[in-house]
Every structure is written in C-alpha cells, then in structure tokens.
C-alpha cells in the first residue's frame, strides 16, 4: 500500500497516492483538468500549458506537479479558466484551423476544449501563417497548418514505437515538426500501425481515406464535453 495524500482542488478534498501528479490524482477523483499534450504512457511533456493550475498561489502544470499533503489547488476558478481560454485561443490564431473542412472536426481535442470553455471567437488577431502540407506518405498526411506543437507524435514515435519519425526544428514562432528524412514523410519508416499516427489531438497527422467516417451528431464531442468520461469517475 502506498501512502495516501490528502489535498484539495477548488475546496474539494481529494485523496491521491504518493508519487502521483495533480492530474493523475484529479482524474482518479473524477475532476477533469483540461490537457492537450499529455499522452498516457509517456513522460509528461508539459508543452501546451492548458493544464495550468494554481498550487498554493503559484501556477504549475498539473501534468508534472506532484501532489503533496495539504496543497490547495485552484482548477475551476475565473483566473485559471481565463489562462486556459487564452492559451486555447492562442493555438487557434497561431495556426490555420479551418474546422469546417477538417476531418478531425468533432473528434478534435483542441476544438473540444474550446467548446467546453465556451469560446466563440479568439480575442487575438489571426496570424494566418504559411505552413506546409506533406501528403507524400501512402497512408498518412501531415498538415502543419493544424499543428499545435504538443509533441505527442514526437513522444509516441520515440518512446512507444521505438522509432524517431518526428522531432521539432527551429525555435520560437518558427518552431515546427520535422520528419526523420531529408525531405518527405514517405522517406521515413513510419507505418500506419504506429502509435504516432493515432495520437495527434488535432487534425495535423491524419490517416488518408477515413475522413468523415462518423456522421455529425455522433462524433466524440458533439454532445458530451471533453472530460465527461473523467467526471463520470466522481463518487465512484
């Protein structure tokens, strides 16, 4: 039996096990903390910052911050929500997110968190960057317009698939995903069965030939907000 640690999230008492992060303990308690870069089975990447919470007055990423006895965590407060909305809106203006023509729409985690937070329009100006699309691979394409630089594909390919198909190049606003080849995705050893093909939270890495498989109204987030599955754990 590992040691039980008691703390609060928005005033609600939560019990977790020593060594857990705030996000893990919250999940167990049925409290949803929004996240985009977090990938089950990999080390927390902590790039998206959507899971930012305030711990004893200090902002922390819930995916990396370990729980400790008596900590006071703010998750669903106006300030934290504002930070999250801003971050999500930043992602929308940073890339080119044309939801009406994206196969991922309805199953997209970025979109779903925006829905959950009630975002109608970003308050920031659209940057309309010029980005690349690589459709060279027979089964997979990458549309950088939709990439939010979360790092899931990088981690999945490296840590789960044991390859290294993706990595980041450039820095700052120029940072982007690159493939492990001189030019094209087709020249990498990416297989359609790779985990890396399944983890993109948005529509940046998609499988060809399966678009719009589920009708509108029946998609993942059409009726139920993202995080509903976690919240169903409450009081269990």
């Amino acid at each position: 039996m590992s040691e039980t640690i008691t703390f609060t999230i928005d005033g609600v008492e939560v019990k977790g096990k020593a060594g857990q992060t705030i996000m893990q303990a919250a999940d167990g308690a049925g409290i949803y903390i929004p996240r985009l870069c977090y990938l089950e089975g990999c080390e927390p990447f902590a790039s998206c910052r959507v899971c930012t919470v305030i711990v004893n007055g200090r902002p922390q990423a819930a995916c990396t911050q370990p729980i400790a006895p008596g900590i006071v965590v703010e998750n669903n407060t106006p300030e934290v929500t504002q930070i999250r909305k801003d971050i999500i809106e930043m992602m929308f203006v940073e890339g080119n997110h044309f939801c009406p023509v994206c196969d991922k729409s309805g199953n997209c985690e970025l979109q779903a968190i925006a829905y959950r937070l009630g975002i109608l329009v970003p308050k920031f100006p659209y940057l309309f960057p010029v980005r690349e699309l690589d459709a060279s691979h027979p089964y997979i394409f990458i549309d950088q317009n939709r990439c939010i630089l979360c790092g899931r594909c990088v981690q999945a390919s490296r840590d789960i698939d044991g390859k290294h198909v993706f990595d980041f190049v450039g820095r700052g606003p120029e940072k982007k995903i690159r493939v492990n080849a001189a030019a094209r995705l087709a020249d990498t050893d990416l297989d359609i069965t790779d985990k890396a093909c399944d983890v993109c939270p948005v529509g940046a890495i998609l499988k060809k030939g399966v678009g719009y498989a589920v009708p509108i109204g029946q998609r993942l987030y059409d009726k139920q907000p993202i995080g509903s599955d976690i919240e169903a754990n409450a009081n269990k």
């Binding site: 080390e43 927390p44 902590a46 790039s47 998206c48 910052r49 959507v50 930012t52 305030i54 902002p59 990423a61 990396t64 911050q65 370990p66 504002q82 930070i83 801003d86 971050i87 930043m90 992602m91 203006v93 940073e94 308050k123 920031f124 100006p125 940057l127 939010i148 630089l149 290294h164 198909v165 993706f166 990595d167 980041f168 190049v169 450039g170 820095r171 700052g172 606003p173 120029e174 940072k175 690159r178 493939v179 492990n180 080849a181 001189a182």
Partner: protein
C-alpha cells in the same frame, strides 16, 4: 569532395568519441569548417553518433550561430540591442550594407561575407558593436564600418581588426585574447574587483570538510548572482544530499540578458577566481567534473580561458588529488554555446550541454536532484563562483557584513544607455538608484531598466529605492533612458527580442510574446485604444503564469512594467476607435496588391 566531407565529419565526431551528448561541439566544428551544417553533413553526423538525422537537424536549427545553408567565410553579426539602437546602429547597418552590397540575412555572391543581426552581444558599454566571426568590434561608426569592410576585403582575416583599432585594457591585450574590447571597470569593490590573492579560498576550503564549506557559504548568506537569487549554500546542500555517485558543477557563463556584460569582465580579469570557485563547488558537492558554459559570443575568450585551465592543471589546482588533498579530483571543461539566450536558463543550459536543443526541462526534478545527464547538478552564475572563492578566503562573517540585510556582499552592475560613464560597477548591496545615477553621470533620466528586459522599468518615483534582493533585484543589467526616449518603442523592441529568443516549447511564451509585440506595434502606429491596456495586462498575466520557464514567466515585463510605471506615455497616445471601426484595418494597404494587378484604384477609399 563528398568523400572528403565524410572523412572530415567522421574525424570531427571521433574527436568527441562519437558521443551524441557532445553534439554541440560536433555541429559547431562542422559549421566552422564548412560554413554550414548541410543536410548531407547532418546525415553523416547522425551516422557517426548513432543518432537520427532529425535529432541532429533539431539541434542545428535551434541555435542562431548554426545553419544548414552555408554562410560566408566572414560573418558580420551586428548587434541590434536597444542600446545599440540608441547609439546609432541603424546608420552603421546601412554603412555595412552599402559597403558589402548586401542586405541583412544575406551572403555576398562570392560567398565571402554574410551580414546578420544579432541580439545583445554583451558590449552595451561600447555600443554599437559587432561580432565578426569570433572577433569583437566595438564603438562602431559609419566610417569605421566602411573601413572594416575595406580592410577585410584586402585581408579577410578578422583578427587583424583588433590590433588595427588598438587593444583593450587589462587582459583584453593578452596575447591569447587580443581584443579591442574594454573592461570599463568604473568602480572597484572590496570583493571581486580588487586585488585577490591566488587560490587562498581553495586552500582554506580543502582544510575543511565539504559540509563545513557548505556551512560557510550558507553562513555568508550568498545568493545566486544570475538574478533569481536562490541561496547558494542551500543549492549545494541539496546537490550534495542527492543520491548518486556522479555529480556536476556547471558555471553559467551564458550571460545574454540584454544590457549585461559583467561576466565578460569577470572572465577577462578574474578567470582564476571563477575557476577557483568552481573547484570549491566541486569539493563541496562531491563533483569531479565542472563545465563552464560559455556563450558563443564570447568565443574570443576561449583560448585564454583554456590556457588558464591548463595552467591550473599544471599547478595541481585541477586534476587528481588537488593541492595534495587525497581523493579530491576535479577538472573543468568549457562548453561553447551557439547563440541562444534561452541557454542562460539553467535547465536549458543543461540541455545544451547534453548536446540537445536548448529547451528547458520540466521541474521537478530540479537540477540538484537530476540535472546534467540526469545526475545531481549545481548550476551557478560566474559571479557567484567568484564570490564563493572570496568567502572561503575571508570568511562568511566578513562577507555578510558587506551589503544590506538579507542581501550580503557586493553586486557587479553592468550599466549602459544614456549616461556618461557606462561600464561595470561593483557596489555593496543596498546602493540607492539615485547614487548610482550620479556615479554614472546620468542626466535628464526618464527610466531605468533594472535586471534587463526580464526585470522592470522604473521611473523617477523609484529613484530612492535600493539595489538588493528585497527591493530592486537584479542579475546586474541596468540600462538608463533619458527623457527623449519613447518608452513604448523601447518596450516593443525588447518584446521583439523575446519573440526571437523564445525556445517555442510552450504555447504561452511562443505565441503570447508575438501577440504582445503586435499590440505594442499597433500602439506605436497610432492605432492604440484604451482597451489595449487591459488586453496587454491580461495577456501578460497568462504568459507569465502559463509559461514553463523563467523566460516566459518574465518576458511580458517590458510591456507590463512600462504600463505600470509610465502609464501617462500610453494614455497620451491611446484613443477610442471612431464609429465602431477597427483602427488596425488599413483598406489602402489591403487593396494595394489588387490595385497593382488590376492597374486601377479602389473606388471606396
């Protein structure tokens, strides 16, 4: 040729044992040899180091001094820091551009010269300045720029420039430095910029147990000199207490905060003291390896520093059983950076030392628990190490008696901008801003930037405040602005710096800084509205609270602290939009392309 490339790259990789954690050294060497790290070279490096090509590309693409496209044999990097702008760098830039016949970011058709902008290169007290390959050229004028290009065209060997304009003072004239850089030490103090006995601190340290050394440092109340101010003794205690047979001492000599240059002077004049401090640190935490991470811009100091390390090895101040102390082994290597401000952040610095992109790491674990190569590591500032050496010599009580309250000892300040005597000043903590302004000969002062752009802008109402951790904390960069300066423009230029230097890992910093910069540009264009203040404050709050490391946690400060302390400057230019129109939309500009294509004018503007 291809075979030659392969052979040379294999040799370079072999020089670093084909060790991918030495990737920085490898790619720097390839860059130096070929003027770039070509896609072909990336493949070869990947093969030799058993890395994936995209990993190598990832590193090459991160650092400003590395490139895939070959650059000229002579690279002129003109510093475009705010202070250089104030000192007329734009005219100098035009002179370089005209004389070379190329624009910035371009290479001459004969592949000889590349002209680039560089952020602060640590020469604000002798701005405008440029880096020509590894050679610093300072106090530039338009004539000097033209003359430099002409001289290089006759003999494209940048080191000739140093002697041409006269060598600098002190060790800048040393045969291994040979630089025109001036120390500009304007005020000496009783801790660092005074006569210091050689290795007296180290000799006394090894008479004590490591725990006693740490206790001495703790008793001195020494706090980190890089800016964050973490108690040094405590950091060492944590590092020593962490489990693991191998530990590391890292010296952060990546001073990149715009306006700072005091570590450059310490490394030039007190290098022994810095290495002595690192050695004491190694003894205290139980490390056998120290790494000095030297910013790429200071490469001109490297031969000099390597020579000092060699001398210290010869004198048994480094190596095995140092000074006869049985079992005390310690040595230091120099890790060169390659143009990335973020690497001054301690976990980014560690990433860079490991041969990776300079991305910061997640915390926890903190470096004292898991740092370089995931081993317990203490990263300390150049000035901190120098102070440690003095503390061990003169005692904690001596040190703690200097300064004010919880801020003990002295602080080196790099002061530049609108003042008569820019340079390095050593003050005991607690010095009043007013005193400092007097000493540097600043008149008509509107604002001071305390701690560089990641710090804060203060105005006249704060001139009675003091430099110390509890009042005006600073890593040492102080820039002065007189009443003719446009504080919004200054803030915007610093935001541009953060946009360039963000690593891009986390969303708030990568995108937020761009948005803050955009809003300030809009205000400067006369399109600002009163609501922009709240917009900037909220956005700044999100970037500060959401960002993953110190860069983003402080980068909104130029906007936020000018809004806080120079609100009237903003209020004077912000006006409500007319008739519900967006002032940023410019129909004329928006139809200009179509007008040109159609050969007719818009009928509605």
């Amino acid at each position: 040729m291809a075979k030659n490339l392969k052979q040379i790259i294999e040799n370079i990789c072999a020089r670093y044992q084909n060790d991918r954690t030495r990737m920085m050294d490898i790619v720097r060497a390839v860059q130096e040899q070929f003027g770039g790290v070509s896609p072909e070279a990336i493949d070869l490096i990947a093969q030799s180091t058993d890395a994936h090509r995209v990993e190598v590309e990832s590193v090459v693409s991160f650092y400003a001094f590395l490139s895939q496209k070959p650059k000229g044999k002579v690279i002129i990097r003109l510093c475009n820091d705010v202070v250089d702008q104030m000192k007329g760098v734009q005219a100098v830039a035009r002179a370089f551009s005209e004389e070379l016949g190329i624009g910035f970011g371009e290479t001459t058709p004969d592949s000889w010269y590349t002209l680039e902008w560089a952020p602060c290169i640590g020469m604000c007290d002798q701005a405008p300045a440029a880096l020509i390959n590894d050679v610093m050229v300072t106090n530039l004028t338009t004539d000097k720029a033209k003359e430099i290009v002409r001289a290089l065209k006759l003999n494209p060997n940048p080191p000739i420039l140093s002697t041409r304009y006269g060598l600098g003072d002190g060790n800048n004239a040393n045969a291994l430095v040979q630089s025109m850089v001036q120390n500009n030490v304007k005020k000496t103090g009783e801790v660092l910029l005074c006569d210091v006995p050689a290795d007296a601190g180290l000799r006394k340290a090894i008479q004590k147990t490591p725990e006693e050394v740490i206790a001495e440092v703790e008793a001195s109340k020494l706090r980190g000199r890089g800016g964050a101010g973490f108690p040094t003794g405590l950091k060492w205690k944590f590092t020593r207490g962490s489990k693991g047979p191998e530990k590391f001492i890292l010296c952060n000599a990546d001073e990149g905060e715009p306006g700072t240059f005091k570590d450059r002077v310490l490394l030039t004049e007190r290098a022994h003291l810095v290495f002595e401090g690192m050695t004491i640190g190694g003894y205290a935490i139980g490390a056998t390896t120290g790494i000095l991470y030297l910013r790429g811009e200071y490469a001109y100091l490297r031969p000099f520093l390597e020579d000092i390390l060699q001398k210290r090895r010869a004198a048994n101040l480094l190596g095995n059983n140092i000074l006869g102390k049985d079992g005390f082994h310690f040595d230091i290597r120099i890790q060169m950076g390659a143009g990335a401000y973020i690497c001054g952040e301690e976990t980014s610095l560690i990433s860079s030392c490991e041969g990776l992109r300079g991305d910061p790491k997640n915390r926890p674990p903190f470096p004292p628990q898991q740092g370089y190569l995931r081993k317990p590591t203490s990263v300390n500032n150049v000035e901190t190490f120098a102070a440690v050496a003095r503390i061990l010599d003169k005692g904690a009580a001596w040190f703690a008696a200097i300064g004010s309250g919880k801020s003990t000892g002295t602080k080196l300040l790099s002061i530049s901008g609108d003042c008569k005597n820019p340079g390095v000043y050593e003050y005991p903590f607690g010095v009043q801003v007013r005193t400092l302004l007097q000493d540097v000969g600043a008149e008509n002062t509107q604002a001071l930037l305390i701690g560089g752009p990641s710090g804060q802008f203060i105005g006249a109402e704060s001139f009675d405040k003091t430099i110390c951790y509890d009042d005006l904390a600073t890593g040492g960069a102080i820039v002065i602005f007189n009443k003719d300066r446009n504080m919004i423009k200054i803030a915007q230029e610093y935001m541009e710096f953060f946009v360039e230097e963000s690593c891009g890992y986390c969303t708030p910093c990568r995108v937020g800084n761009v948005l803050i910069d955009k809003c300030l540009q809009k205000i400067l264009a006369g399109q600002g509205e009163p609501s922009d203040i709240e917009y900037l404050q909220n956005l700044g709050n999100t970037v500060k609270k959401g960002s993953r490391c110190g860069l983003g946690q402080t980068s909104p400060n130029p906007a936020l602290t000018t809004i806080k302390n120079f609100r009237a400057v903003y209020d004077a230019v912000l006006k409500p939009a007319q008739d519900g129109m967006q002032p940023t939309f410019d129909l004329k500009a928006a139809v200009s392309d179509a007008e040109a294509l159609a050969g007719r004018h818009s009928v509605i503007h």
